[in-house]
């Protein structure tokens, strides 16, 4: 029996190759996308769970409000770690980390192996006992116990030495400070928040501060018994989760002893966050704000797979009448309802099984491109982990039940006598079509919403990217010379004919963060978060930043040691050139006001909304990024190679790296551009699946109506009459979908756009364009089918009785 059923199911699928093809193809596409998204979401959710102590590790942070904004800080004083371990019994251990941020560190093995590194951290030796990073070589217990030791990853060992057995070898930081390699880590898994490639002992803090930041830190900083905010991200390993409440209490206790006021204590809310949640808290504020990547993608996966399943259900039920006779005969011959249900389930198991196989193949083939687009790296071993295989199995079962149940129950329910009399739909051909219409409407509503969302998202991104920056971003290169060779290098390149001018700033625009200060305006009592940038007086001219007013108009440059603010800072601080509050800058910045500039963009935040900025003019001893404006010629290469030669001469300890300002600006949007592109691809896919379903339904409907159309043609219907008859049947649900989807899409997009200061308006033509293109697509899809029928000779159709 089982075998005959299988044979019958296979034969039935084969006989209806066309519909089986549509079902399997659409499902395979849907499943491939769902699988990729499943891997992505699974990967996101699995972050940091590989640590053996994952459930016991907590990070300390402090929350406070400033200028009505929630601010979260994780920098703690050095004593914060050991104090809690000593005083609270539930705290087993602590790890303090100090991340040496971007572009300021260069690691070097020899003259030909030196690179900028950003994943460098100083850590307590407990880093390797609290966290579970497996070692390839070296002893986790002692790896960081020696002052000048460093643990590196396998990947870095290969990068610098070309091999992995390099324990005992040396690496130099900024060419000066030597470290001995004491351990090699296996490569960090892709789902780890802590992704440091170089781990140095925390004792090196003082030396690193001096060397990298040129800051002298009192050695006591590491050992003094001070509780408060500071430089170190602090993690605790807890054996008793009561400590989550105890630690903030202990901090308050310390502060009370120090006679810190109660209001101050209450305003700083210390908090422990589980390591497992960290990944979701710290991700940088994405431009596509409010679009939680995980929810968004899960939703898309759900929509796409539902659409494909609905195709299966609607095509199968649409063809139910054909199968009805078979079912009737089987029932008359004594088949039990159970067996009939089994028959239909078997068919859906085969279809879904084939679709899964095919979808899996698609997914494997496209996963590399997909994850590259998302800008994430996922270890291939993750694909086979339980986090993926179990949900995938559930998805399979869900698909089988979802797709098999309706047809099975509907078809097995037919009364044989009725069916054999050909009275499947109780005689009225017009009933029951609501189900197909509903599915078509649902599918197209979702497609249209996605399409509108894709257009609006794209436009909004374009709007942000194409905004004026407030300066001329073309032909400006940012270079980071070494401190020792800085001045000579600058002087030498200024003599080059390719160079128009140079300037210095403490950071690289769009690449680094600025420092920030919170200040209270003496004029209007506003609390303002001011970003601070140190620049030399050439900065404005070289970048082409426009002055709104320049004090002491004796030259086109602001005076040394003055402070320049942007319009937004002036506005928020209540500064108004007319009212003579001359000493505003003096009070706030301890500097004289040098002028006010028009707003210009300097980091992601300022791209999103006007941001207060103060520029401190410092002409001597300023070390940071060199901005070079090149002469506008087509041959930039010659100029760059001349600069490169001089860099090697004056800064031999650093690789020559440079960033064009305009390119740096564009990379700000890389993640969003990728997201938008993926969104577009998914939207296309959803529309494709909808059309595939419509195609199948139209094929079926026209086949079923072939005789009717033959009669109509005999009665005088033209090809045009027949086409419009067949098309309107399918256009009506699509039109309804447009009516349903447009207001919902409008509302959702309007909500999303509210989060932007600089935003587009959702214009009517977007809806018109989305609606029209979907109508045209649907019409084309249906026409392929109906044209054939409309052109067919009516006699053949009528004869086919």
């Amino acid at each position: 029996m089982q075998y005959t059923q299988l044979k019958f199911a296979l034969r039935n699928l084969w006989r209806n190759k066309f519909y089986s093809g549509i079902n399997i193809g659409g499902l395979a596409a849907g499943i491939a996308v769902s699988m990729l998204i499943l891997v992505f979401v699974g990967h996101e959710l699995s972050f940091d769970r590989f640590h053996k102590n994952a459930d016991k590790i907590y990070q300390l942070s402090v929350n406070f409000t400033f200028n009505k904004q929630e601010i979260r800080g994780t920098g703690m004083s050095a004593y914060m770690g050991p104090a809690m371990k000593e005083k609270i019994s539930g705290v087993d251990d602590y790890v303090r980390l100090y991340h040496i941020s971007d572009a300021e560190v260069v690691l070097k093995k020899d003259a030909s192996h030196l690179f900028h590194e950003s994943k460098v951290v100083l850590a307590d030796p407990s880093y390797f006992s609290v966290f579970s990073f497996p070692f390839l070589a070296g002893n986790p217990k002692t790896a960081l116990s020696q002052p000048n030791s460093v643990v590196i990853t396998e990947k870095m060992a290969r990068k610098y030495f070309g091999k992995t057995d390099v324990i005992g070898a040396h690496l130099y930081i900024n060419s000066k400070l030597p470290f001995t390699i004491s351990g090699i880590l296996k490569d960090i898994p892709s789902n780890s928040t802590l992704d440091y490639e170089f781990i140095l002992p925390i004792e090196s803090f003082i030396a690193i501060k001096k060397l990298v930041y040129n800051e002298s830190v009192d050695p006591a900083y590491l050992s003094e018994n001070f509780i408060g905010m500071g430089s170190f991200t602090t993690y605790y390993q807890l054996s008793n989760l009561n400590a989550i409440q105890q630690i903030p209490k202990k901090i308050a206790e310390f502060w009370r002893k120090e006679k810190i006021s109660d209001t101050e204590i209450q305003s700083k809310k210390f908090e422990l966050s589980p390591l497992k949640n960290l990944h979701f808290q710290q991700g940088r504020q994405v431009l596509i704000a409010g679009f939680n990547k995980i929810y968004l993608f899960s939703l898309i996966a759900l929509i796409v797979i539902l659409m494909a399943l609905l195709n299966y259900v609607s095509i199968t039920t649409a063809r139910a009448s054909e199968r009805a006779k078979e079912v009737g005969i089987r029932k008359a011959m004594g088949a039990l309802r159970k067996e009939l249900i089994g028959q239909f389930y078997l068919e859906s198991i085969i279809v879904i099984g084939l679709a899964f196989g095919l979808g899996l193949l698609f997914a494997v083939l496209s996963q590399k491109i997909f994850f590259e687009q998302l800008g994430i790296h996922i270890n291939s071993s993750f694909f086979f982990s339980r986090q993926i295989t179990i949900p995938l199995g559930c998805l399979l079962v869900f698909c089988i039940f979802f797709s098999g149940s309706y047809p099975a129950i509907l078809l097995s329910n037919f009364k044989p006598t009725e069916v054999l009399k050909g009275r499947l739909w109780s005689g009225r051909g017009r009933d029951k079509v609501w189900f197909k219409k509903f599915m078509t409407t649902f599918q197209f509503s979702a497609s249209i919403m996605l399409l509108i969302a894709a257009i609006v998202t794209y436009q909004q991104l374009q709007c942000l990217q194409n905004r004026s920056l407030g300066f001329q971003k073309e032909q400006v290169v940012m270079i980071l010379p070494t401190q020792s060779g800085f001045t000579e290098f600058r002087n030498s390149i200024e003599k080059l004919s390719a160079v128009k001018g140079t300037a210095i700033a403490s950071m690289s625009l769009f690449r680094d963060g600025t420092s920030m200060a919170f200040m209270k305006s003496p004029i209007n009592d506003n609390e303002v978060e001011v970003h601070i940038l140190e620049v030399d007086s050439h900065f404005f001219e070289v970048l082409g930043i426009k002055w709104e007013q320049l004090h002491r108009q004796t030259s086109s440059k602001p005076q040394n040691n003055t402070c320049v603010i942007n319009q937004e800072a002036a506005k928020q601080l209540g500064y108004n050139s007319g009212d003579g509050v001359k000493d505003l800058a003096q009070q706030l910045f301890n500097r004289e006001l040098g002028g006010v500039v028009e707003n210009f963009q300097f980091d992601l935040g300022s791209v999103m909304k006007p941001t207060p900025l103060a520029l401190w003019i410092k002409n001597e001893d300023l070390y940071g990024t060199l901005y070079v404006r090149l002469v506008n010629t087509p041959n930039l290469q010659a100029g760059m190679s001349a600069i490169s030669q001089l860099f090697k001469k004056h800064c031999p300890d650093k690789p020559f790296e440079y960033f064009f300002l305009d390119e740096s600006y564009d990379t700000l949007f890389k993640a969003e551009d990728r997201m938008a592109k993926l969104f577009g691809i998914f939207t296309g896919l959803a529309i494709f699946i909808s059309c595939l379903g419509l195609f199948g339904l139209a094929a079926y409907a026209t086949a079923r109506r072939a005789k009717e159309i033959g009669i109509r043609k005999v009665l005088g219907a033209t090809v045009g009459n027949v086409m419009s008859l067949l098309s309107t049947e399918f256009l009506r649900p699509v039109l309804l979908a447009i009516l349903i989807a447009s207001p919902i899409a409008w509302y959702l997009m309007e909500q999303w756009l509210k989060k932007f200061t600089y935003r587009i308006e959702v214009e009517w033509w977007i809806f018109a364009a989305a609606g029209l293109s979907v109508i045209v697509l649907a019409l084309l899809t249906v026409s392929i089918q109906s044209l054939r029928t409309a052109l067919a000779n009516p006699v053949t159709a009528i004869k086919n009785e």
Binding site: G422, R423, G427, R428, G429, R430, K707, E708, G710, I711, R712, V714, L715, G716, A717, T718, N721, N793, P794, V795, I798, E801
Partner: protein, 227 residues
């Protein structure tokens, strides 16, 4: 009314030509009632379809109301038969999804007739066939004879000059068949509608004025009915 000159028809089956009609010539006059008889496969339906312009002959000439049908474009032909010809089928060929009323209205829809005129024509014909009470029923709620009545009513609603009926009574019992034949006779005599019917029944064939006997694709003989 219409003139067939050396009409031939074949179907290609592989390399071979399958002759269905060979060298058929005939004249049908306005107001005439003609029966076509012959064994199954003789080509009766094919001939009727050619006359009805649903199929094209492979050779020969066909004049309908002095128009050279064999030279006309498909569009012209559609116009022609839409206005002058009504079809009645053995299997009735009503549209299952439409009510009696809507079935009757369908041919008028393709003639770009105004709504009010359509209404009055459908009402007229329903009245004439005594089917007013059944106008909202679907075809499969009717008996075979009733369905064929609707079929004839539909053929007549466009007020054609010629009715082509392919075994109109083939699926009916003799009482119902007689009723249909009476209607044909009345139509022919009182309204001057030309009728060409295909039938296997000697009795029904005799309602006509002339019988054309087909055999293997050619006219075997013609028979005049004298009453």
């Amino acid at each position: 009314m219409l003139q067939l000159k050396n009409i031939a028809k074949y179907h290609n089956s592989g390399i071979q030509k399958n002759w269905v009609l060979k060298d058929i010539s005939a004249n049908i006059f306005e107001g005439e009632f003609v029966s076509i008889m012959g064994p199954s496969g003789a080509g009766k339906s094919t001939l009727l379809n050619i006359i009805g312009m649903l199929e094209e002959p492979s050779g020969g000439e066909y004049y309908f109301l002095d128009e050279p049908v064999h030279k006309l474009s498909e569009k012209k032909r559609t116009e022609l038969y839409k206005h002058y010809i009504g079809f009645v089928f053995q299997q009735y060929h009503l549209i299952d999804e439409l009510t009696v009323y809507e079935n009757l209205e369908t041919p008028l829809l393709y003639k770009k007739m105004s709504g009010s005129e359509r209404k009055s024509r459908v009402a007229d014909i329903l009245d004439r066939f005594n089917m007013v009470a059944k106008k909202d029923l679907f075809p499969n709620q009717l008996s075979g004879g009733q369905q064929q009545l609707v079929g004839i009513a539909r053929a007549l609603i466009g007020q054609p000059k010629l009715i082509l009926a392919d075994e109109p009574t083939g699926n009916l019992q003799s009482a119902q068949a007689d009723e249909i034949m009476q209607i044909f006779k009345k139509l022919n005599e009182e309204e001057g509608v030309s009728i060409i019917q295909v039938t296997h029944s000697e009795k029904n064939a005799a309602y006509a004025q002339r019988i054309i006997h087909l055999l293997d694709g050619h006219v075997e003989r013609e028979e005049k009915i004298t009453k």
